[in-house]
């Protein structure tokens, strides 16, 4: 059955039918339909189930405010839950499924909650799940988890692409109704750069639906002409399908563009998040009609009066054949008149006001529509669809009712300006008694970077209720925004329209006024979250006074629609229950986004390979080609090991360690930070940054150094090479180059700005290769070009030269305890140099090793690693590094803090080596147990493991750890705790396990 009316539907293209499916059933609509209008056209009024009671729900609204009609959209990699049918444009092949029911939409077992709703009052969770305590984990939580959540999470990765876009404008205008369009014209004519965005696919908003007359012609005609004018202006951009999602500090706004939601087969990104910086923002966001609270107001077929009108005018749909209109203001009459003129039955307009004599009422009477003044709907008949209403006097209890048969109820509770964007960044509101709504207070706008107001409202969003006033208000907004953005406004004509004289509304929050409790328990405020008038009243009786608390207690306005329909009504009911005025109660906070935006849009391009930067060395491709297992080190990607054939990682690491210790290992050390520090004060500067003395280092020599924060904690380490009198090269840890570079710049710029020092980060200028092992010298000699003998280049020396035709700088430093050269070449030749080393080294057993072999070898030598032995609370003294702390220097960063009583305490845990008695590997991070328990009943501790490995060299587990009075307890056996409660015995030993005398590195 079709509900289409011939000749109506201004947005439809009837020449282009569109096929789609709902719950597997193939249906058809037209191009220009939303999913909501297409479903209604197919007489599919039942669209979903409510969250708590699983009540049957139809569509209530026609736009972004829709609380009920949420569906699972799409399939597979394009599946997405909770999509509003009212903002989903229909396209060929669309698939939608209703959600929140089992086994199906028409028969839902969960509706049982509805019959026990008495036992699920406001705050049900808080009251029920308190006791007994054990029940939470075993009874309540499993049940709650099963029934929680709306829609289904997607199971496949999203195949679409998303992006951000940074736009800078003088004036951003949100909302493409006549107010936004008029404001854009006014601002554009001043010469300001204007961006006008509209969330739907169509311009014009309500005025074109309601047939307003502007400048003597239909609004639609005026709109087309004005949009054309705007299109022709170079400084104005107008875009549909972009929602103003949020307004943030200093003129920042987010626009959510849905590019391909209506055309999924195009090659464009699906959504684009516009990151807009505007000097001024105009919110021409219109208003949202409020529902009325009467028993059964959630039954499918009860809708906002404006939505009934939208479906009729925009999509040619008769939502019902017999529609009862219930209203507390004049606007409801527009729906009655439009329906009657379309040839549909309107058995009555129920108006809660006593005497209605306005023009619109007269017009309705003239059309033969009966108006019941001073009446209310006391109940709605029907289950999955309205079948009639019971009418009673407004000032009664709803006891005596007269029934009117109907299949649709159109309700109008007055209009609330959409103040969300105004409020996001602190714009304040005034309560307007006449219209019973909150409207922006232009005197208290959100403030920008210079303390200026940066948001202006336009049209009905300002509280201007009639067409003529809307246009004037919007024109003024456009001009003031342009002026505030630095553009002199031109004297331009404002479009004119007559205001329709209206009769004042009657704020009616509950129908009828003294409705009996059983009726109040069926008056829905929040349709999605099933919050009723009785719930708010109960909360008030239980002592909830703050609106923010009541919101969270009852979940009013906490659903995906964020209370767009329920907010004011809920506030009014709460205020009434508390016996205070609405402004005294205040509003809850409006937070962005205006409606939910996709996670894809938020992530933008940052997904998959470019989720985050992965830094690659010049040798990266070789590692990938040699089956390297990569690990992240900061943002770097480094080879952990290079498994061969069927090898496990452990086997590969063992092979790499043994080969390096016995023959020749090659390590890509390019990630090591390299900072050049140059200037007459460079030595003095480094003396302040390092704990040890650097100014007396001789050119040509290297020295290991430690850096501490001003709190005294160890933050980085590395080898410093003195290049010449004025120049040092400081190596940092792989993850630390940028941080330490920034640290140096900070001190030079903000504390010692009179010191003559420049720093340059040359980390990436060089590829660096560690050539390590007994055969290291042999391979270099084979490459030839410089003297690398012990005499020419001794341990802790460096030299520039040529090796195998490459310009190199060679450092004789060792992090493994073996004979070792770290060789830097320009990055662009890094790969060629690496290949040359492998070729020349083949006869000496050259083999690449990864970071795990590096770590094991340094641990065998007792060398600390920043991030393993340190965690931001460790001072060098804890690690037995007193030898690297200068006693001659007056000052260095962290020196004073290291003298604080707790830092100087003898009771700090200190570094030792640990050997398990059974040769096993201690668990990483395991605690050394001490006698007794602490105040929380936990076992006391006396130390912890900081590094732990299986040593292929010693064939046993070795570890380093921090232990109370550790260095004084050599040989003592202590216990370490396993996660399973068992313990492991380990002996305290010297942390240097291998070549204590350092003979091997110094050959």
């Amino acid at each position: 059955m079709s509900n289409r009316i011939d000749g109506m539907g201004r947005l439809l293209n009837r020449d282009t039918p569109v096929s789609f499916t709902f719950n597997g059933k193939t249906l058809s609509g037209y191009q220009g339909d939303t999913l909501a209008s297409a479903l209604l056209a197919n007489d599919q009024m039942l669209m979903g189930r409510s969250f708590k009671y699983h009540r049957a729900r139809g569509v209530v609204a026609s736009g972004a405010e829709e609380p009920n009609a949420l569906v699972n959209m799409g399939e597979g990699a394009r599946f997405e839950p909770n999509q509003r049918v009212t903002t989903t444009e229909l396209f060929d092949g669309l698939t939608a499924k209703s959600q929140n029911h089992w086994p199906n939409l028409n028969f839902d077992v969960g509706v049982i909650n509805n019959y026990v709703s008495k036992f699920l009052p406001a705050g049900f969770y808080y009251k029920t799940f308190m006791f007994p305590r054990f029940a939470w984990k075993h009874v309540f939580e499993p049940i709650v988890r099963h029934s929680a959540g709306l829609g289904k999470p997607p199971t496949e990765a999203d195949t679409d692409r998303y992006e951000h876009f940074y736009a800078f404008v003088d004036v951003l205008i949100v909302g493409g109704g006549i107010a936004g369009v008029q404001a854009a014209l006014a601002a554009g004519q001043s010469g300001a750069k204007v961006l006008l965005v509209e969330q739907t696919a169509h311009w014009g908003g309500r005025a074109v639906v309601d047939g307003a007359i502007i400048d003597g012609k239909p609004a639609e005609e005026w709109l087309i002409e004005t949009l054309q004018t705007l299109e022709n202006m170079d400084n104005v951009t107008i875009r549909t399908r972009i929602m103003g999602a949020g307004v943030y500090d200093h003129g920042y706004a987010l626009g959510y563009e849905r590019i391909t939601d209506h055309a999924p087969e195009t090659n464009a990104p699906r959504h684009r998040l516009w990151r807009i910086r505007a000097k001024q923002i105009i919110t021409a966001t219109g208003a949202i009609e409020r529902p009325l609270s009467f028993a059964g107001n959630d039954i499918p077929g009860v809708m906002l009066a404006s939505a009934v009108r939208d479906y009729l005018v925009n999509w040619g749909i008769a939502v019902g054949q017999r529609t009862v209109v219930v209203t507390n203001n004049d606007d409801g009459y527009r729906t009655a008149i439009a329906l009657k003129q379309a040839g549909l039955e309107v058995p009555a307009v129920i108006d809660v006001r006593e005497q209605v004599q306005s023009n619109l009422a007269k017009q309705a009477r003239a059309l033969g529509i009966e108006i019941r003044e001073g009446r209310a709907i006391a109940s709605v008949k029907g289950g999955k669809r309205v079948t009639g209403v019971g009418v009673s006097i407004m000032q009664g209890t709803g006891g005596a009712q007269e029934e009117i048969k109907c299949d649709c109820v159109a309700m109008s509770g007055g209009w609330s300006p959409v103040v969300h964007l105004w409020s996001h960044c602190g714009g304040k509101l005034n309560w307007i008694e006449e219209h019973a709504h909150f409207a922006p207070d232009p005197k208290r706008p959100p403030l920008g970077d210079e303390g200026q107001g940066f948001v202006i409202t336009a049209g009905i969003a300002s509280g201007a209720m009639e067409t003529g006033t809307v246009l004037q208000n919007a024109d003024a907004a456009g001009k003031s925004a342009a002026k505030a953005a630095g553009f002199a406004s031109k004297r331009t004509r404002v479009a004119k329209a007559d205001d329709v004289a209206t009769q004042v509304m009657l704020p009616a929050w509950i129908l009828p006024t003294n409705a009996l409790p059983e009726l109040r328990a069926k008056m829905w405020l929040d349709f999605q979250n099933d919050v009723k008038v009785s719930d708010i009243q109960l909360a008030a009786r239980e002592g909830y006074e703050s609106v923010e608390h009541t919101k969270r207690y009852t979940t009013l306005g906490m659903a995906t629609d964020q209370g767009k329909l329920s907010n004011i009504n809920g506030l009014a009911v709460l205020s009434d229950a508390l016996g205070q005025e609405i402004p005294q109660t205040g509003t809850t906070t409006f937070r962005p986004p205006y409606t939910p935006i996709s996670m894809g849009a938020i992530a933008g391009e940052a997904r998959g390979e470019i989720f985050q930067p992965l830094r690659q060395t010049p040798i990266h491709q070789w590692h990938v080609g040699h089956n390297a297992y990569m690990e992240p080190v900061g943002l770097w990607h480094r080879p952990y090991c290079y498994p061969r054939g069927e090898e496990t990682h452990q086997e590969a690491v063992t092979r790499e360690v043994n080969n390096t210790r016995q023959k020749l290992g090659l390590l890509d050390a390019s990630t090591l930070g390299k900072l050049i520090v140059k200037g007459p004060d460079a030595g003095k500067f480094l003396d302040m940054l390092y704990t040890n003395m650097m100014s007396n280092l001789k050119p040509g020599r290297c020295r290991y150094g430690l850096m501490c924060s001003e709190n005294g904690f160890l933050v980085d380490d590395g080898v410093v090479a003195r290049i010449d009198e004025d120049t040092f090269l400081c190596h940092t840890t792989s993850g630390g180059a940028e941080r330490i570079h920034g640290w140096m710049e900070e001190w030079l710029q903000t504390e010692w700005w009179d010191w003559q020092v420049y720093v340059a980060n040359v980390t990436e200028q060089f590829a660096q290769v560690a050539v390590v092992g007994p055969n290291a010298r042999k391979v270099l000699e084979k490459l030839g070009g410089m003297d690398v003998s012990k005499d020419a280049l001794s341990f802790m020396g460096w030299a520039d030269g040529i090796l195998g035709g490459f310009d190199v700088r060679v450092y004789r430093i060792s992090f493994s305890g073996e004979l070792s050269y770290e060789i830097a070449v320009p990055a662009s030749q890094g790969r060629a140099f690496w290949d040359a080393l492998h070729a020349a080294g083949a006869e000496f057993g050259a083999m690449a090793y990864g970071t795990e072999a590096l770590h094991i070898m340094r641990a065998e030598k007792g060398f600390i690693m920043i991030g393993d032995e340190t965690d931001g609370t460790i001072i060098p003294q804890d690690l037995g590094l007193n030898w690297a702390i200068s006693k001659k220097k007056d000052d260095f960063l962290g020196k004073r803090a290291q003298q604080r009583s707790h830092m100087a305490s003898k009771d700090r845990w200190q570094l030792v080596g640990l050997e398990t008695l059974d040769g096993s590997v201690l668990p990483d991070g395991a605690y050394a147990l001490a006698e007794g328990e602490n105040a929380n009943g936990q076992r006391n501790t006396q130390g912890r493991v900081t590094s732990t490995y299986h040593s292929p060299t010693l064939f046993r587990g070795i570890a380093m750890g921090l232990v109370l009075h550790g260095p004084d307890r050599m040989g003592e056996v202590i216990e370490f705790g396993n996660i399973d409660g068992t313990t492991i015995s380990a002996k305290i030993v010297d942390p240097v396990f291998y070549d204590k005398e350092g003979i091997k590195q110094n050959v």
Partner: protein
Amino acid sequence: MLIFECPYCGVKAEETELHAGGEAHLTRHGAGASDDDLKSYLFMRKNPKGVHFERWQHANGCGKWFHAARCTMTLEVFGTYSAQTFEPPAELVKKIKKKRPDWEGWT
């Protein structure tokens, strides 16, 4: 999202290009400092509701540190200035005083 004009390169930079560095115009107390001086240097920070002088670095930009005077309530930025100074410029102090007559002034 806040914007500050970098006094070194003139770019009106947004927060994602900047790095916040906390309270400005601290005095470093190093070797030989008393416990009280050390405590105030390392740990004690102003947390005013209103005018605040702070350090920012144009990290994703020219790399320079600068100072800013900002209202922590309204987020108004009164001005930005060189990091290489021990106190805010007199002109800026005057400007803030005019905008915030109740402000107790720079100390």
